[in-house]
Symmetry: C2
Subunit: 209 residues, 2 copies
């Protein structure tokens, strides 16, 4: 696995608001996020955008490009970040010789499919508060696996981006935050979030979900 460094190249810095790639760009590489957070968005014909992913350190973006030789979404840094560029040809070649890497590659790609299915579930059948609760719980879990606090974190997205991600409007997101806070389930201070009652949040999600 250390041979990953061969293909990994150096860490490369990405400034806030900069993009790793744009829809239509020829697919050449995956990007392993070393530091920071990214959103992925797909653009509609009339210029609106739908946020399809919120990615943090340790995750990989660009997987959607493999199938088409072009990226279909855009990956935008939500803060100053660092990524490793994994040139796909080299990565695939290395994966060809290293079993563990090969399995992991399959795994990463497939997990992205599961993530998509979960988002479909969220977007297709949950109400606003439930979507937000699930979003927060999901973040909490991902922070936890990274060794950070699972009940206190800072969002890197604006209300509008969260809204797009959750298939809502920003006012609805704002209201949902307020309502969850009013019910004592979370504490909100701008983008700083504290989960006060995770089990109640889970129950909220479990009900209709």
């Amino acid at each position: 696995m250390q041979r990953l460094d061969q293909v990994a190249g150096n860490r490369s810095r990405v400034r806030k608001r900069d993009s790793l790639f744009w829809p239509g760009d020829p697919f050449t590489a995956l990007y392993a996020i070393g530091l920071g957070t990214f959103k992925t968005v797909v653009l509609t014909e009339d210029g609106r955008e739908q946020v399809t992913g919120y990615h943090m350190a340790g995750e990989i973006v660009g997987l959607d490009g493999i199938g088409n030789d072009r990226y279909v979404c855009q990956a935008v840094a939500l803060e100053d970040s660092e990524v490793r560029v994994l040139l796909f040809d080299q990565l695939a070649e290395l994966a060809h010789h290293v079993t563990a890497l090969r399995h992991n590659l399959y795994r990463f790609i497939s997990n992205e499919i599961c993530r998509g299915q979960n988002m479909m579930l969220l977007l297709g059948s949950m109400r606003a508060e439930e979507r937000l609760a699930l979003f927060l719980l999901n973040l909490a879990q991902r922070y936890q696996t990274r060794g950070y606090s699972s009940c206190e974190f800072v969002l890197r997205m604006t209300r509008e981006e969260i809204a797009s991600y959750l298939g809502l409007k920003l006012e609805t997101v704002s209201r949902s935050f307020s309502r969850l806070q009013g019910e004592g389930l979370i504490q909100v201070q701008g983008r700083a979030i504290k989960l006060l009652d995770s089990s109640a949040l889970k129950q909220l999600v479990g009900q209709r979900c």
Copy 2:
């Protein structure tokens, strides 16, 4: 590519309403649909279901299982169908030696990601009629690439399944069908659909999408 038959085993029949796999089943195989159609659904804790895919001959289901060693969704035959069972271990082994197959495997998995992103776009930002129009256009295109009529086909899902797939309720789907028919864009006779004005449908989708 003919060697695919080695791993493909025989065509196996699946009766309408039967499932290829259930959520939680250990992942062993992909299924190449030879004949018929399948829906994939994810089940919610309280027993409700969200349709996440509508798959037809020539497509592959089960890709979501690779990452977890378990299937996360359920694949249900919507009519009597035939599939080829592709045992994944064997398939991966063969892909290891056959470049073209390897590329195709990556491609299939990755395309599933794109499909997910498009569904997120649909579920997150389109109104009922637009969702239905896009759904029909998508079907038309897939029938066309298979050599069937692109403007006349029979749906294999109930209104309720379509509704779940599109994040709506069955009554809304029914009304949307009626409205599109009233506007002269399609002709509906139960599950038999005729597209009368594809370009208008595309325009409808393009507007808000």
